[in-house]
Structures are given as C-alpha cells and as structure tokens.
C-alpha cells in the first residue's frame, strides 16, 4: 500500500457514520457468496447490534450506504449502477482478514482508513500536539455536574449570565482536574459556546412524535443537553477544526468527530471514556505514538502510517510480566475499593483507570485479564450483575468489559496468603 508521509493529501471527508468495525469483515463475508450483489442482499444478512448494555437493532439502509461507500474508496468492491462486485483486492483482503487475529485485523483496517481519510494518524498526532505535558490527554467537556436545571420553554433560550458562569466553570474544572486538557482561552471559549448556543436556539422545535405519532411541537428543551452540545461543538471547532496552524483544513466536524473517536478507540490508537471519575465530560488520550525508531517490546509498529517527519505510528502495549500486570491491577482495584468501600467495584472503572495509568487499549486490558485470571498471588472474582448505579442512561452505553466472550460488570481482588 502507498505510504503517505505528510498530512497534505487529497483526503476524503465522507466517513461512514457507523462505529462497528466488524461490519467490514461481515460484509465481505456476505459478498464472497455472490458474484454480483445489491445493497439490500448484503443488508439483510448483517447481524443486529448492541451498544453498551442497549440493544440497538438491525443495521439501517443508511449505514449500509455508508459502508459500501467506504469499501468503494478502499477499492474492495466495484460498482455498475446498482450492482456491485467484489474486486480482486477485496477478495485478497477478505482472505487475509478472515484468517488473522483481532489485533492484526485492526491493524489492517486502520491502514486503509488512514490511507483514505488521513484522520487516524493525524488525530493521534494532534492529541500529542495539544497537551504534550500530559501525553495528549484532552477532555470533551460537558457542563459541570452541579448544574442540573429544569427543562425550559422553547422561547426561554437567551444566553444568560448563568450559562456564561457554567461555561467558564466547566473550562476551569476541566483544566484543574487535568491540566492542559482543554487548552482554550476563556474568552475564545465563551464566545464560541455562545455562538453555537444562539444557533441551536434558532432551530425550529421538533415534533413530539413517539408511539402515538404526536404531531405537536416540543414545548420545552433541556438546557443542559443544549449547552453540552454547544460545548462539544465549540471544542471540536477550536481544537480540531479551524486552527490556521494545522496542516489540513477542516479535518473533523462535530458529526465525524463522534464517529472517529470510538473507531480509533476500537483500533487501539486512543482511549476514549464514556464517564470517568469526576471529569465533567469525556477523557481521551492516545495509546499510540509516532516514533523514529523503536527497540522496545512495549510498542508494535503499524505499517503504512507515518507523520510528516517520517516517523512511524506505534501502538503501546503491556510488555511486563503477568505478575507485574496483576500487581498493577490490584493497585488500581484497591484505590477503587478504598474510595467506594465495597468489595465488588465496577470493573469498567478499574479498566478505565488502568488503561489511563498504563496507556493501553481496553482490548489489551481485557486480553491480559482473561489470560491471568488464575494466579498464585491474587484471587480474582468477576461478576455479571448490573447494579443500580450502572443502570442510568450514560452508564448503560459504556463500552462493556468482555473477557473470554463473556460480559462482566464487577470485580473483586484479594491477595492470597503467602506460604
């Protein structure tokens, strides 16, 4: 595959708005059966999806359109009006992907994505640029947790002192918890958030809809949700979009950012939290880095991804012993235990903190844990029991912990008595 050593390429913007990367192999698997095929034939055989703890249902026609568009970009399929055909390249790719393990599958996919869209490598590099002192930690902010206003009438949408104070406090809080995680000047921040708030306030109210197909217009809106959306969009605009010093223009919009983050997390290039500790918003940081050369076992090279300085992209992985992993895991567990004071703590919280401390992907964590459940030094108990605090909307959507194909929600670790 052609290597690109600068960001200035003729790149595509129209990434598909789906985040499940197993769709590629599933689709190729279906396509292999037919000599030629239409979209609908492939769609009806693709499996239904879940997101976190929520069943999200069948893949939609729109998602199939976008999937096909990407595969056309990759040149895995060709098209003659409504009829499609697997190319020789597509067939080779299928043969490779179907025989490889998940780690190599992801590496293959990320190469194609970077080759087509440039975003994977660019995004990792951008995170490092934004907060080098904390190894690329960035927060996608949401309003501070203390602010919980009631819903308001649609007309009551003026920008107020209250909104300004909350916006300012959110910026301060993010940078207090994680210095440099939101590297934006206060005035710039407030101006941008206000601009987007005002724009969102002009949007015509939607219909109530629902099961009765209610045609009445919504009378009220949720200020917290609106401000949250305004903050996210402002952050993306300022940090990932309009900066004149960036080598590519308009790399990410609000919509595409929401797709790239989970995709790149799935591809192990970065880690992206749903909710994390006391952070108002989401934390993301790279679990990969551009290096000139590498001799450490702690890094795996991804072929075909280089930055403008010709450095290759490397994934970070755990290279210490199993015992060291368990000791580190116990340390993270114990901190959670001492904070919550209950034996079984959320394995999602333990996973998130472990990944943050040791800069590995969620997938690597799960593999490590799955391989080390039987230990001479520690008794590890995993449970699948969704607790009351794990049933709120945002908690249900968290990336689950899957170990040896089973979903778990709780973990307890005790040290065994030394003989």
């Amino acid at each position: 595959m052609k290597e690109f050593n600068n960001w200035n390429i003729d790149k595509k913007r129209s990434v598909g708005l789906f985040t499940d990367l197993h769709l590629y192999i599933e689709a190729l698997n279906e396509m292999k059966i037919y000599r030629t095929f239409e979209k609908s034939q492939i769609q009806e055989n693709l499996s239904k999806k879940v997101k976190g703890l929520i069943y999200s249902g069948s893949i939609t026609p729109k998602m199939v359109d976008e999937l096909f568009r990407e595969m056309l970009y990759f040149k895995w399929i060709s098209r003659n009006k409504k009829i499609f055909q697997l190319t020789e390249l597509g067939s080779d790719v299928f043969n490779t992907l179907s025989k490889t393990d998940l780690i190599n599958y992801r590496k293959e996919i990320v190469s194609y994505l970077h080759n087509t869209f440039i975003i994977p490598g660019w995004f990792v590099n951008r995170l490092w640029e934004l907060n080098p002192n904390r190894q690329g930690e960035i927060i996608m902010p949401a309003p501070i947790k203390l602010w919980a206003p009631n819903s308001r009438k649609w007309e009551n949408n003026n920008w107020s002192n209250e909104l300004e104070n909350v916006t300012k406090s959110t910026l301060a809080e993010c940078n207090k918890i994680c210095p440099g995680a939101l590297p934006i000047e206060s005035e710039d921040w407030i101006t941008n958030v206000k601009k987007i708030w005002d724009r969102l306030s002009l949007v015509y109210p939607r219909r109530k809809g629902g099961t009765g197909n209610n045609n009445e217009l919504m009378e009220k809106y949720q200020p917290r949700r609106r401000l949250s959306n305004a903050m996210k969009e402002a952050t993306i605009n300022i940090l990932f979009n309009r900066d004149a010093n960036m080598s590519i223009t308009n790399p990410l919009s609000f919509r595409t950012f929401m797709v790239w983050c989970p995709r790149l997390a799935e591809l192990e290039l970065l880690w992206y939290s749903d909710s994390f500790l006391n952070i108002p918003g989401r934390l993301l940081f790279p679990t990969s880095v551009f290096k000139e050369n590498n001799e450490s076992e702690a890094f795996e090279k991804i072929n075909n991804i280089r930055d403008p300085e010709n450095r290759s992209l490397y994934l970070h992985r755990w290279s210490n012993s199993a015992e060291a992993f368990l000791q580190a895991l116990h340390g993270v567990y114990e901190k959670n235990y001492l904070h919550k004071r209950i034996m079984y703590v959320s394995i999602l919280d333990v996973r998130d903190e472990f990944c943050r401390k040791y800069r590995i992907s969620a997938q690597r964590f799960e593999t490590l844990l799955g391989n080390n459940l039987r230990s001479k030094s520690y008794a590890i108990a995993l449970e699948t029991d969704v607790r009351e605090d794990q049933t709120s909307g945002s908690q249900q959507l968290r990336r689950p912990v899957i170990i040896n194909d089973k979903f778990y929600s709780l973990i307890a670790i005790t040290e065994k008595d030394k003989e």
Partner: protein, 452 residues
C-alpha cells in the same frame, strides 16, 4: 441431650467470665451499633451514658430558648443543625435530644425554665419510608408519640391531682413524686389505697366534659388515658385514616392542647428528629405544601395551640435538608418567623459541631468507667488506650462522636483477638492505616511515558 435442649441461661458474672478481663473491663464499653436506641436496655446504646460537657455550647443555646418568664415568649419553631456532615450521621444529635427529653421530663422543665413554666418534651422519630406526604400524617405521628412517651398519661395523672379528685392524704404520699405513673396512673395502686376507681372515673369524666373536646376522646381518656398501651390499642389505633384526613389536625392542635393545658402544662416541646425522613421523599410540590402547612397550623390557624402558643418544635436538620427546604421556606413566608438560612438563622439554630480531641478523650473515659471491673483497681482511666491512640481515632473520624465510638469498639475487639497489651497510636493506625481515598483534585500522571 434433653437437658441441653431444655436448659436456661445461667447468671452471668461478667467480672469473672469477661472476655475483656485483660483490659479490666466487664464488656466492650463502646456501643457495637452506632446511634441511640432509647428502648434498649444496653446503657451503651440507650443514651444513659451522656457527657454534658461535650455539648456545653449547644446546651447553653438550648436553655437560652426556654429560659423566660413568660412561656408565650418562646418561639414556636427552632432548628438544630448538624454542621459537620452533609447528610447528618453520628454527630450526637439523637443523644443530645434524648438527654433534653429526660432532663425536662424528670421535673417537667422546672430547672430548664427556672421554675417559671411547666413543660413536657417528646422525641419524635419518623420511620423510614413512612410516607408523610400530607400534614395530617405528621400530626398523627406526633399524637402517637405523645401517647407512647406517656404525656397523655402524665396529663391525666396531673389532672386528677390538681383538680382535687383524690384525698390529700394520698396526694401527700412521697412515692407519688417519685413515680407518678405507677401510682396515680395505676388502678392497682389506687385500689390498694382505697380509691374507688368507678367514682374516680366519673369525676374525671365530669372534669373533661368541661373542656368541650370530642366525646369519644373523653370516654377513652377516662377508661384508658392513664395506660399508654391501652390508650394506643383501644383508641388511637382504631381511628381511621379518613378520620384524620377530615379532622385536619384539629385533634392535635385543639383537643389535645386543651387537655394538656388543663393539666397544667404551659408548653410542649416537640423534638422532631430526622426531619429528612419526612421531607426528602416528598416531591417538590409536596415539600412546598409541607412548609405551608407548618406555617398554617403553627402560626396562622385559629386553634388552641396558636392561642396559647403551646407547642415549640425543634426541627433537626442537616445542611442538605437546609438546601432543599430553603426555597420553599422563603416562598411560604416562613423566613419572617424563623430563618432557616443566612445570618439571621443563627438566632434560631443550634449548630452541632464536631467535638475537640480533649473532649473525645473524656468521652472515652466516661464509657470505660461504666464497665471497669472494680476489683482490678486500674488507675489509668483510659486503659487500654493511650492518649495518642484516642487522639488518632478522633482525628481519623473527624470529631464525629458516633463514628469515633464505633472505631474504639472495633479497637477493643481487635485488641482482644490480636492480644494487644495496650492500644496505642500504632494499633489504631493498623485499623485505619489504609485511609479512605478521596478523589484528588488533579488526576495523577500516567505511570508510563510513551515518548520516553
């Protein structure tokens, strides 16, 4: 085999058989369960071990509220707030309230009011999930407490004495002053002193009829009034909820006030503990209604209580409850009567702060003293603890007495199990060494450096 199944427990000699003999103690002197349970026979739990100096400031403020020549000057609502813990646990409020109730009831407020008034006090404890979404349910709770804590019975006994329904030779008997309820309230005792119960009941009936209160109440007071369990069973428990709903708290604020006032009481102090159990489960509108009702019945309504300014409610709150009540309090105009927040609230509020370390040592000493084996003659009053150990425990529990005593209980148990000679700072640290971790303000840096 059969002998074991039918045997009874033998007499306990804690001095000889105590597991805690090593420390010169008959048992673990500290309460195993945090909190006060006034019905418990265990002196560690029922509030009988009480150190006044621990709460000398709070006591001064409490006395200040009631020491006045004219009982009608006493404000109808005041507040007691836990200042230290946002959700109010372990600071010692219940112990304080229990002590106040016992002190007032021992002489009907003679000491508290400087001899100017006759007072009674009840300690009201709402039950969790009790569903107090309408004010009549709160009134019903107060009436139930008045019965269970023997106020109605005391009132009947006083009425009998003050209305001259008995011969003065009987009223002069010293045992009456020592135990009013088991003398004037006990038909067996009265009969032993040749008092014809039938005649007495008729006299009481006649006196009560002058009060113009509910005839059904009169009849039940005559028959059961001096017997709290009987009054509860035969009268109170038979009143339906629909009666209370229609009654709109008249039973409490009219009839019962008339009875109590007629029995010579100038004021009734309602120590309303754990108000959060009433308020927190309510929806926003119901909270507003609750405050409105409080204002109506205590200040605005034309009832016997407002005429006489009879009840004083000491409401126990904590900062979180203050936060949720404040907007409704202001909206109902209650801030004109009692300020619940802001600077003016200091005039109506007893603030509960954590205790200092010196007092924590004295508190531990008081508990230990009650369970010391006398024959052991141990001079060190806080043995097996050292002063530093008690200070450490106090520091760890941030001066919250309930939690502090519980930690000391645990320390004694561990000391016996692990055969500690004394319990010093080191032993306390081993119990609490892995401190509860609070989330830090700034996230720690990662353990690895990917660029390194």
């Amino acid at each position: 085999m059969c002998a074991n199944l039918l045997r009874k427990s033998g007499p306990k000699n804690f001095e000889i058989n105590s597991r805690f003999k090593k420390y010169g103690l008959t048992k673990n002197p500290f309460p195993p369960i945090p909190g006060v349970n006034i019905s418990s026979s265990d002196s560690r739990e029922n509030g009988s071990i009480y150190l006044e100096e621990l709460r000398s400031n709070e006591q001064k403020n409490f006395v200040k509220m009631f020491k006045t020549e004219d009982a009608s000057d006493i404000n109808r609502i005041s507040l007691l707030m836990d200042y230290q813990t946002a959700k109010g646990r372990g600071i010692g409020k219940t112990a304080f309230l229990n002590h106040q109730r016992v002190s007032i009831m021992k002489d009907f407020g003679y000491e508290l009011s400087g001899g100017n008034s006759v007072l009674f006090a009840i300690h009201v404890n709402p039950i969790p999930n009790g569903n107090y979404n309408t004010f009549w349910k709160v009134s019903k709770l107060i009436i139930e407490t008045l019965i269970k804590q023997e106020i109605i019975s005391f009132a009947l006994c006083r009425l009998i004495a003050l209305e001259g329904l008995l011969d003065s030779k009987i009223l002069d008997l010293p045992e009456i002053e020592e135990d009013l309820l088991n003398t004037l309230g006990n038909n067996d005792w009265l009969e032993k002193h040749d008092v014809p119960i039938f005649t007495l009941d008729n006299d009481v009936r006649f006196v009560l009829s002058k009060l113009q209160i509910d005839p059904n109440l009169v009849e039940n007071l005559v028959v059961w009034g001096r017997n709290p369990e009987g009054f509860l069973q035969h009268y109170f428990s038979k009143i339906s909820d629909s009666y209370f709903r229609k009654d709109q708290s008249k039973l409490l604020f009219n009839d019962i006030v008339k009875l109590l006032n007629f029995a010579g009481f100038d004021k009734g102090i309602i120590l309303f503990d754990e108000l959060e159990k009433v308020v927190q489960p309510l929806k926003k509108n119901d909270r507003r209604t609750f405050v409105d009702s409080l204002r109506y019945y205590l200040y605005d309504d034309l009832n016997e209580h407002t005429k006489l300014s009879f009840f004083h409610c000491l409401l126990v709150i904590h900062p979180y409850l203050q936060e949720i009540l404040l907007p409704h309090w202001d909206a109902a105009g209650m801030d004109r009567f009692v300020s619940i927040g802001g600077q003016l609230s200091e005039n109506y509020t007893i603030l509960f702060n954590p205790i200092e370390d010196k007092l924590a040592i004295t508190l531990a000493q008081e508990y230990i003293k009650n369970f010391r084996i006398e024959s052991e003659k141990i001079e060190d009053q806080i043995f097996p603890f050292t002063k530093e150990a008690l200070k450490k425990a106090h520091e760890y529990e941030q001066g919250i007495p309930g939690r502090y005593l519980q930690l000391l209980h645990k320390a004694i148990e561990q000391g016996i199990t692990n055969n500690w000679e004394t319990i010093s700072e080191v032993e306390i640290e081993s119990l609490v060494g892995k401190k509860i971790v609070d989330q830090k303000e700034t996230m720690e840096l990662p353990e690895v450096n990917l660029q390194g």
